[in-house]
């Protein structure tokens, strides 16, 4: 059009406070001026206050030594590390609880949501009660409930943990379970993994194209996934073929303390120097021909009840030894008192009792000494193990730990010669190994080649877990509370989503002759997903933000660490800024994902 390039004419002589074009600008100028004035006042005040109180206002303290002990560290950390690393640990711990929590909350939430729609009234009601109860009680109350009222008092103590199937241990310290860790050979496997991922991508694209052209429905995912598993599996085998150990791999093992460190002898001097790096997750075998452990019986209070006359050796399992013999440290005295041993878990756990009813076996009540009406406390027991052999996977810090054995026969020799310190059995074998019948403590520690991954099993020395994946009770309490709380919200969203798919949709699909399962998977589910996904993602964000209630469970995530750091350094403003920035980062990451999801869903809609 010929008129398109004309410029708009500006009407003259309108006072600026009445001109639509200038009113807005005027309002903004005033607004910004007020805001700026406020900000300037606050900043000046803050700077004055900081100057007066002599508090740090910059980030230079981030590099100094933190000295904060943290129980759970996804990456190596010691209190000697600087503040930034402590904060990083906190951030990673936040991700650790959020990542696992999101998965578990989704699973439980979907189950609860589906239960809410069950045809069985009882099931439906249970789900309703679950949702209403959990949504309407503050999360803080729930965390403290799980932590101080359930997980701390109810599970047994760490020195007598419950062993669940699959080598999982539960106690008041937390949960530990076998876990696969990457070894030094993991690098050899990576190319295969890359190829496997590429295979999935290419395979899916190819199958999709096929599906579009094909006359019949084509399953897109199974074949590429199968191929990927095959490639990864084959790669694992190939990577495991090389059975050589890395150059200079060595272990520095102190037999009488039962611990060692796997390291790489870089300088080649055969001794572990400060420059030699530790080697995590190395697979070792510790063999000891014959050795001894001692323990004393105790009367202890546990889970609200008193347990009497129990003895606890470091947890030694049947598979660890060829033979184990437990005898009284003072057989004569034991015989005199009529004491006998009953194993609750051979050979490490049991009670000492007197067979008063003469049935040749332990009967509850017999562990109480009728003379004192308490248990037989302080009875010394000796376990002699023969052919001890245990696979131990070094920890993340290269540590290999095994029970602290003493030379076989020491205890009796100590009895014979009480003048020599009887407690020297720990760590001072030579001092007592004077008699002929003492078998010297010799350990054969072998470093074994490993595949790309190694299964680290849980051991329980006396009062801690070793190996495997260990989750503290703090983590578990927070996780449990977050998962259960969020699952109630997700359950309600899932129910709403499925119900929101119009009844007509189901009826139409059934009328077309689709089966009930086809109706759900092809018609209802895709539509429900579109409704459910956005609010569920915002629940994931809520879960992540709610993990900041960690102080109630004593779990060291970002917020907890930040409060400690602030307390130590007094750097209020920098810590506040770091916290805000971190949470904004998390929120924006979720918003980013949500946007992608929304875009994809919008495409589906067209």
């Amino acid at each position: 059009m010929a008129v398109a390039d004309r410029r708009p004419s500006v009407a003259p002589r309108i006072p600026f406070w009445r001109n639509v074009n200038t009113i807005g600008i005027l309002a903004q100028v005033v607004f910004v001026a007020v805001i700026l004035f406020g900000v300037v006042v606050l900043v000046t005040n803050t700077l004055n206050a900081l100057g007066r109180a002599n508090l740090p206002a910059d980030f230079s303290w981030l590099g100094s030594r933190a000295g904060i002990p943290i129980a759970e560290t996804p990456i190596p950390y010691t209190p000697n590390d600087p503040y930034w690393r402590a904060l990083l640990i906190g951030f990673l711990n936040t991700l650790k609880i959020a990542g696992i929590g999101v998965v578990l909350a989704s699973l439980i939430g979907i189950a609860v949501g589906v239960m809410r729609l069950a045809s069985n009234w009882l099931v439906r009601s249970i789900a309703t009660v679950y949702i209403e109860l959990l949504r309407n009680i503050p999360l803080a109350v729930q965390i403290v409930f799980w932590y101080t009222a359930v997980l701390l008092p109810i599970p047994p103590r760490i020195n007598n943990p419950v062993e669940l199937p699959g080598g999982v241990y539960l106690s008041n310290v937390g949960l530990a379970f076998p876990f696969l860790y990457p070894t030094y050979r993991f690098g050899a496997w990576i190319p295969f993994l890359v190829v496997a991922v590429a295979a999935v991508v290419i395979g899916v694209l190819w199958r999709r194209r096929l599906a579009r052209r094909s006359e019949r429905p084509v399953r897109v995912w199974p074949l590429p996934l199968l191929a990927a598993v095959a490639i990864a599996g084959g790669g694992y085998y190939v990577a495991s073929l090389d059975r050589t150990l890395p150059d200079g791999l060595a272990i520095d093992f102190t037999i009488d303390r039962g611990r060692g460190v796997v390291y790489r002898d870089v300088d080649g001097d055969g001794v572990r120097g400060p420059r030699d790096p530790v080697m995590p997750f190395a697979s070792t075998i510790v063999r000891i021909a014959e050795a001894e452990l001692t323990a004393s019986t105790q009367n202890i209070t546990e889970s609200g009840g008193v347990v009497r006359s129990t003895f606890r050796f470091p947890m030694i399992l049947g598979r660890d030894v060829e033979q184990a013999v437990v005898a009284f440290g003072d057989p004569d005295e034991a015989a005199e008192r009529g004491l006998e041993i009953h194993f609750t878990r051979f050979p490490s756990r049991g009670v000492v009792f007197v067979d008063r009813d003469g049935d040749g076996a332990f009967t509850p009540g017999e562990e109480i000494d009728p003379a004192t009406l308490t248990g037989f406390g302080g009875v010394r027991l000796v376990m002699t193990v023969f052919g001890y052999e245990r696979h131990i996977v070094a920890d993340r810090d290269g540590q290999v730990r095994t029970p602290a054995f003493s030379p076989s026969g020491t205890v009796r020799s100590a009895e014979v010669a009480p003048a020599e310190n009887p407690f020297s059995v720990f760590g001072a074998a030579a001092a007592t190994a004077t008699r002929d019948d003492v078998v010297p403590l010799v350990a054969d520690v072998e470093l074994r080649p490993a595949g790309p991954l190694v299964l680290s099993r849980v051991h329980v020395p006396v009062s801690s877990y070793e190996g495997g994946m260990r989750l503290t009770v703090n983590y578990l309490a927070l996780l449990l509370a977050l998962v259960i709380y969020t699952s109630a919200f997700i359950g309600e969203i899932v129910r709403g989503g499925i119900q929101a798919v119009a009844k007509g949709q189901r009826e139409a699909a059934l009328a077309l002759g689709l089966s009930a399962s086809q109706t759900f998977s092809l018609v209802v589910f895709p539509q429900a997903l579109r409704i459910v996904l956005p609010p569920v993602i915002s629940q994931y964000l809520n879960l992540t933000k709610n993990s900041s209630l960690a102080p109630l469970a004593g779990y060291g995530e970002l917020f907890v660490i930040a409060t400690i750091v602030q307390n130590q350094t007094g750097a209020s403003v920098p810590v506040a800024l770091l916290l805000i920035a971190s949470y904004l980062f998390i929120s924006f990451a979720f918003a980013f994902v949500l946007n992608i999801v929304n875009d994809r869903l919008a495409l589906v809609e067209r």
């Binding site: 309002a27 206050a49 009234w121 008092p153 904004l584 929120s587």
Partner: protein
């Protein structure tokens, strides 16, 4: 010849109680099995909880510390002050309930609260001589308020101002005016706590309401400077959890005002944080409502000659707010639960008192501890109020849904 076939009763299994049971519990063998298994589970759990609560649990500490739970260390001889504030609150709610008595949601909410007050009054009459009269007074005030609301429904128009007045006067009454002793002596904020503090913090939603509306309008403004400042505030505040803001506010507010931290009571800092946090969420809720008002409404108002502010305040906002009442109630539930986070700034709210009671020597002497009992009690009280609100929210949603169709 045509003859009307008389209706016959449905065969068994379709109608009646028996039919319902069959359809919902025993429709198929698998369903029957499910019913039996879950039934056994429910009975087992229910029975063990009841048996535990009746025989094994020790509720003595819960009972003995009711005053701590209610007002924490607020002086016993001044209890009439918080009770007067509570009475005024109940009276105002009564006016609302009475004036809107045809609205079953409002009415139901009011009578639930009255039932709660009546329950406590009965207990007070039986066991707590010192607060007998006070509780009876609160109950009376609620009923008087209701009667006033019934008689003079037009009083509702003044309610927003009445609530603001209640907020300020209530604060001064709780805090007191004169130093030293006497009926109106000052009670330092560090002695406030318990459920009273939970309610005080919950009132943070009142100032957050106008703030949230302003932020929402700002975010929808055509003027970029206003829009970006408001959007930035909203998103930053919503991006981080409340507990962090409580912590940050307690650190930074004294710095912002360049004053000694002791001059700013922890309650005030927590209140500011809760109000601003709640305002950001309120803004998003209100924005949702604003988006739901059709453009034609604004155009019609402008075409009639109404100005920008008039259009917003008379036409757009009333419609927007009505649409988001359920969301605002939902937010109120969230805030009610979230007041429990003020433990992070050292306040002894209802939740935190539990920990204090649990660590009393008397609690530690009880075999097996009393934490389970204490937390169940606290959970129950929170649940009562939150669940009642969520029922109201659901009813509102239903009512609005019917109204628009």
């Amino acid at each position: 010849m045509f003859e009307v076939i008389p209706p016959r009763p449905a065969p068994g299994g379709v109608a009646g109680v028996g039919g319902w049971i069959r359809r919902n519990l025993f429709s198929s063998p698998a369903n029957t099995l499910l019913t039996v298994v879950t039934g056994v589970f429910v009975v087992y759990v229910g029975l063990s909880v009841v048996l535990w609560a009746l025989f094994d649990a020790s509720w003595g500490q819960v009972w003995a510390n009711q005053r701590l739970f209610a007002v924490y260390r607020y002086p016993a001889d001044l209890l009439w002050r918080p009770m007067a504030v509570l009475a005024a609150m109940m009276a105002l709610i009564g006016v609302m309930g009475g004036a809107g008595r045809r609205n079953e949601i409002l009415r139901g909410l009011f009578w639930s609260l009255v039932a709660f007050v009546a329950f406590v009054t009965v207990i007070a009459l039986l066991f707590w001589p010192s607060v007998r009269v006070l509780w009876a007074g609160v109950l009376a005030a609620s009923l008087v308020g209701y009667a006033v609301g019934v008689a003079r429904p037009s009083f509702v128009r003044g309610l927003p101002w009445a609530w603001v007045a209640w907020l300020f006067l209530g604060f001064f009454l709780l805090y007191g005016v004169t130093p030293g002793s006497g009926l109106l002596r000052i009670v330092p904020a560090r002695d406030w706590g318990g459920f009273m503090l939970t309610l005080i913090l919950f009132t943070g939603i009142v100032p957050s309401f106008p703030l949230g509306i302003a932020l929402a309008l700002g975010r929808r403004s055509k003027l970029p400077a206003i829009k970006y400042v408001c959007t930035g505030f909203i998103e930053i505040v919503r991006g981080a959890p409340l507990i962090m803001w409580l912590f940050v506010a307690s650190l930074l507010l004294p710095l912002f005002l360049n004053t000694d931290p002791n001059n700013l009571p922890a309650i005030l800092r927590a209140y500011v944080a809760i109000t601003l946090f709640s305002a950001a969420y309120m803004a998003e809720n209100v924005r949702g409502g604003l988006q739901a008002v059709p453009r034609g409404q604004t155009e019609a108002a402008r075409a009639l000659g109404l100005g920008g502010w008039q259009t917003t305040s008379l036409i757009v906002l009333p419609q927007a707010l009505r649409a988001v009442i359920p969301a605002i109630v939902g937010q109120a539930i969230g805030l009610f639960k979230d007041t429990s986070l003020v433990f992070i700034v050292g306040l002894a709210d209802f939740f935190r008192v539990t920990e204090i009671v649990a660590n009393q020597p008397a609690s530690l002497q009880v075999t097996g501890g009393v934490k389970l009992e204490l937390y169940l009690y606290v959970a129950l009280i929170y649940f009562f109020f939150a669940y009642r609100m969520s029922i109201a929210s659901r009813q509102l949603e239903k009512q609005l849904g019917v109204g628009t169709r």
